[in-house]
C-alpha cells in the first residue's frame, strides 16, 4: 500500500482556480533496471490517476515509466461547490489507492 499525500485548500471562493498537490510513496520501478544481484527489477508503477469532484471526473492522467519515484503532481481545478474531491491511483499490481479531501466553497 502506497502512502498518498494530498494538499487541497480547505476553503475557496466560488469560481476560484485552486492548486492541488499530490505525492505518492511508490518506487515506480521502470522495468529496465537490475537489482544488486543482477536480476531484472520488474516494472511496477502507478499507471493511472483520476480525480472526481462531487462525482464528476475533472482531471486524469496516464503515467508511464519515465515518471520519477514517489510521483509528484501539481494541477488545478475550479472550486465550483462545497463537497469532496476523490483521488484514485491505479497500481500495476491491481491495487487502487484512494484519498478524499473536503472543500468548503463560499
Amino acid at each position: 500500500m502506497a502512502e498518498v499525500r494530498v494538499a487541497v485548500p480547505p476553503t475557496a471562493r466560488k469560481g476560484e482556480v485552486i492548486e492541488i498537490k499530490t505525492l505518492v510513496s511508490h518506487p515506480m520501478d521502470n522495468g529496465f533496471l537490475l537489482d544488486y544481484g543482477g536480476r531484472m527489477i520488474p516494472r511496477w508503477i502507478i499507471n493511472r490517476f483520476e480525480v472526481e469532484y462531487n462525482g464528476e471526473m475533472v482531471f486524469s492522467a496516464d503515467w508511464h515509466v519515465s515518471i520519477s519515484t514517489n510521483p509528484y503532481l501539481i494541477f488545478y481545478t475550479v472550486a465550483t461547490e462545497t463537497g469532496q474531491l476523490d483521488f484514485k491511483w491505479y497500481d500495476d499490481n491491481g491495487e487502487i489507492y484512494t484519498h478524499t479531501a473536503e472543500i468548503t466553497v463560499t
Partner: protein
C-alpha cells in the same frame, strides 16, 4: 629548462622573461582604456589580481569596503570562527596596483562600453569582467521576501545575514528546532546547506544537546550525500533529520510572524528558520540583458565572454559555465582562465585552451573534513565538462585520521584561496 640552477638565478631569468612578454599587453590595455571588473568576490578579485599580474591596467568596482566569504561562513554559524576571520580587505590588491573603486554599479551599457555607478559616475572599459554573484528569487516561496529574510535569514550571502542567523542560534533555548530549507538545483554552493547543518549540529551538540536540526529539502539528493549522512550518524546521532522532496520536504510558504514553515503537505513551527530561496544571477546583469531572459548568463566557455554582448565577460555563480558547480573555487579557477583570455585578446592573441579545477571541502565537524574535486575541460560539444576518471569524493571508508587531515586541508584551502584572491 631542466638545467639545474639556483633559485635566485631562475628568479632573475623569470623576471626578465615576464617583463618582455607582458610589455605589449600593457601598451594595448592602456591605450584601449583597460579592464573594469565588477565584484570583489571569488571571481572578480581573482580576475583583477591575475590581470594585474599580467600587466593589464585594472579597475575593480566593489560596493562594500571589504568582502566576507560564504565559504567558511558556516564555521561562524557553528561558533568555531568569528565573523572577522572570514572578512577580507582590499589593501593587498591596491598594493599590487589594482585600482579598487568603492561604488555600487547600477547599469552596464554595452554600446557605450561603460558602467554607471550610483551617483552617476561612469567608468569606461575596453573589456568588462562581471562576477556579480547571485540574487534571490523573492517570489519563489510564498511569504518569503526581503523583509521576511530579516526574521528568517537566508545567510546565503555572508554579511549581516550571517550574524542574524548566528544570534538566533545563540538565543535559541535548548530543545529548540533549527530548520534549514535548501533550494532546488542549481544554486550557489551545492554542499553548503549540509555543511551548515553539520556545523550547527556541532554547536547544538556541545551547547544545547536536546535541540534538533530539521532539513526541509527541495531535492531528493545532494552533494556528498553519502559522506554527510555517514558523518551525521557517527557524530550527531538523530540530531539532524533530513526530509527530502519526495517525503514532502519542499517548502511552499512561510509565515515569518510565527516562524512557521509550510511544506507542500505539512507545517513546521520552528525556533530558527534558515530559508535559502531559489537563486538567479545578480539582477545587475539584466541592465544589459546578459541573462537573455533566463536565470543565468550564457557565455563563451573558453573566454567567458557573454554570447549576448561582446567585450563583456561573465564568470562565477552568475554564468553558465558548463557543468561546473556554482562554487567559490569554480569562480577562482574560471577567473584565472578568463584573465588570461582577456589579456590575450587585448594583446591581439588567441586565448589559450582552458583547464579548470573545482575543489570543495566541507566540515562535518571541526576535525572531520570531506571533499569533492573535479578537473574540467572543454569537450566536443563546446561546453565545460568534468574529465572522466578523475575527481570524485573522499573515500567512504576513510579512517578518522584522514577526516582530520581533510579538515586541516579545508583550512589550508581557505587560507590559500583567499590569499590567491586578495594577495
Amino acid at each position: 629548462m631542466t638545467q639545474k640552477s639556483t633559485r635566485r638565478d631562475v628568479l632573475k631569468l623569470a623576471g626578465a622573461a615576464t617583463a618582455a612578454t607582458v610589455a605589449p599587453t600593457i601598451a594595448t590595455a592602456q591605450s584601449a582604456g583597460g579592464v573594469v571588473v565588477i565584484g570583489a568576490g571569488f571571481g572578480g578579485a581573482t580576475a583583477a589580481r591575475y590581470l594585474r599580474r599580467a600587466g593589464v591596467s585594472v579597475t575593480l568596482v566593489e560596493q562594500n569596503s571589504s568582502f566576507s566569504t560564504c565559504p567558511f561562513s558556516n564555521t561562524v554559524l557553528g561558533g568555531i570562527n568569528n565573523f572577522s576571520s572570514i572578512t577580507h580587505g582590499f589593501g593587498g590588491l591596491r598594493r599590487e596596483g589594482v585600482n579598487v573603486v568603492r561604488g555600487r554599479v547600477n547599469a552596464v551599457d554595452p554600446d557605450a562600453k561603460s558602467i554607471t555607478l550610483d551617483g552617476g559616475d561612469t567608468i569606461a572599459y575596453d573589456r568588462l569582467i562581471m562576477s556579480p554573484g547571485i540574487d534571490f528569487k523573492w517570489d519563489a516561496i510564498e511569504g518569503y521576501d526581503e523583509a521576511a529574510a530579516e526574521l528568517m535569514p537566508h545567510a546565503w550571502k555572508a554579511g549581516s545575514q550571517t550574524n542574524i542567523l548566528r544570534r538566533q542560534l545563540e538565543a535559541m533555548p535548548d530543545g529548540g528546532v533549527v530548520a534549514i530549507a535548501p533550494p532546488g538545483n542549481p544554486f550557489r554552493c551545492p554542499p553548503g546547506p549540509y555543511e551548515r547543518a553539520s556545523l550547527i549540529a556541532h554547536y547544538l551538540k556541545t551547547e544545547k544537546p536536546r535541540s534538533k536540526v530539521l532539513i526541509l529539502d527541495a531535492k531528493d539528493s545532494f552533494s556528498k550525500q553519502g559522506l554527510f549522512q555517514a558523518g551525521w550518524a557517527e557524530l550527531y546521532g538523530d540530531l539532524i533529520e533530513w526530509v527530502p522532496f519526495s517525503e514532502g520536504g519542499n517548502v511552499a510558504r512561510v509565515d515569518p510572524a510565527t516562524n512557521t514553515i509550510f511544506t507542500d503537505f505539512d507545517e513546521h513551527k520552528v525556533d530558527v528558520a534558515n530559508i535559502i530561496p531559489p537563486q538567479r544571477s545578480n539582477r545587475l546583469v539584466d541592465t544589459a540583458g546578459l541573462a537573455d531572459g533566463g536565470d543565468w548568463c550564457p557565455i563563451n566557455q573558453t573566454t567567458f565572454e557573454s554570447t549576448i554582448h561582446a567585450n563583456i565577460h561573465v564568470l562565477g555563480d552568475a554564468s553558465i559555465a558548463g557543468r561546473m558547480p556554482k562554487s567559490g573555487f569554480s569562480a577562482n579557477s574560471q577567473a584565472k582562465v578568463c584573465a588570461a583570455a582577456v589579456a590575450a585578446l587585448l594583446a591581439g592573441n588567441d586565448p589559450a585552451s582552458p583547464s579548470f579545477i573545482n575543489t570543495c571541502y566541507s566540515l562535518v565537524a571541526p576535525d572531520y573534513g570531506i571533499s569533492v574535486a573535479a578537473i574540467y575541460r572543454i569537450i566536443e560539444d563546446g561546453t565545460i565538462a568534468p574529465v572522466a576518471g578523475a575527481g570524485g569524493v573522499s573515500p567512504s571508508d576513510a579512517p578518522a585520521s584522514t577526516r582530520a587531515l581533510e579538515a586541516d586541508y579545508a583550512r589550508g584551502w581557505y587560507a590559500s584561496i583567499t590569499a590567491d584572491m586578495f594577495g
